[in-house]
Symmetry: C2
């Protein structure tokens, strides 16, 4: 099946967690809104449809045959077993999804470091609040999230390359994306925290060296980090 991913065409954002899974699996997919000509119009038409019975609240969403699935973690829950990126038993699927939902919470908190008041206002209109929120994020929340994932790697009964086992899962790809993005957005905070999280950094390196991921990251399909994205680098927010 050819999957159709719908997401904003100029940012990595939440869509990137889905792109990484599709890329690692070598899946047949189209990144619809990035298609030349009518791509973005197709996404807009879908979002503005007044007849869809199961409308997405927001991108990303995935068309898979007749299904339209929204919410990043939900898309990955659906794709996981189909792409061989999660064990098929229920316990593993729930645990992987639980971790993915924790990453979703983490992403929202990152977004709010630069937009603590409103997504509808410019950063410059909420800069003072952003400084306060970011100071809390880098001092309290970032260490908490990093520590949580490091601890999961540490507690595995046998040494293993990835969060679940020796086999990669989609939440490993998402964890790679978090580390890479946080290094872009908060280089100083990350430089300070990285020495305490060696297993997480090894996981990042292991994912980025996977052949299909490495090929993807060096391709034009991988959009650059940028200042319209969820992860943004404002030096004044990186204490």
């Amino acid at each position: 099946m050819r999957y159709e991913l719908y997401y904003w065409p100029e940012i990595q954002g939440r869509g990137e967690f889905v792109r990484l899974a599709l890329e690692d699996a070598g899946a047949d997919y189209v990144d619809v809104a990035r298609l030349p000509n009518r791509g973005m119009a197709a996404m807009t038409r879908f979002l503005e449809s007044r007849s869809a019975e199961q409308p997405p609240f927001a991108p990303p969403f995935l068309k898979a045959g007749k299904l339209v699935i929204a919410q990043t973690a939900n898309i990955l829950f659906y794709l996981g077993p189909r792409l061989g990126l999660v064990p098929k038993n229920e316990a593993s699927r729930l645990w992987t999804h639980q971790l993915q939902l924790t990453i979703a919470d983490w992403v929202s908190e990152v977004h709010d470091t630069h937009h603590p008041i409103s997504g509808g206002l410019y950063y410059g209109e909420q800069k003072r609040e952003a400084k306060r929120r970011s100071a809390d994020f880098t001092a309290e929340r970032l260490p908490k999230f990093l520590g949580y994932f490091e601890q999961i790697l540490q507690r595995r009964p046998t040494a293993s390359d990835y969060l679940l086992s020796k086999a990669v899962s989609y939440v490993d790809l998402s964890t790679f994306q978090m580390i890479a993005s946080l290094r872009y957005a908060f280089p100083r905070a990350m430089a300070r925290l990285e020495p305490k999280h060696p297993r997480l950094l090894a996981l990042h390196d292991r994912v980025s060296a996977r052949p299909r991921i490495a090929a993807y990251l060096s391709s034009e399909r991988r959009l650059p980090f940028n200042q319209q994205d969820i992860f943004r680098h404002y030096p004044e927010l990186d204490a």
Copy 2:
């Protein structure tokens, strides 16, 4: 099976979405942290365990036999088919979960109306920012979320009592909880918006009249809304 729910014993919070599902289904469950004597200690012991291989990031979490499941929407995804609160086919389960995840995002935004800077600071320490964020929430976000769920009810091909069909699902129970909680937290904003969302209000009334839900709401098991909870009533935030 007797389910064990672990959640903060003095608030409705995120745990309430799980409680409502268990109550509506008449499930056998224990609200562990509310047990006299050692209840809260049991939850703390679990959260602070240094050996759990699959630790929750935060409450609520559910013990179901050998499984420990965290993240509210994930718990409901697991419980749904077991409690008869979602159709068993994959498409319906994904759609219901997608709606539940949108509710999870909505809940986080409500939390941040009174804590836009940090969950670790008192409300009084971020009151100015809370006013700005709440003004945006009541003007932009609240109408968007309410309108989204109203529209789903409106677009159903045949008139139906609930979001998915004539049968109740767990996301209907959660939608009831959102309306009830928003009325507590933002009575003025809700009074202004309610006339535009008749189907949503009818859904709220229909859920609250379900015999087991009605019995639960009038029991001592239903904690009162309060100012330590996610939904809080600060008149100055309710424009």
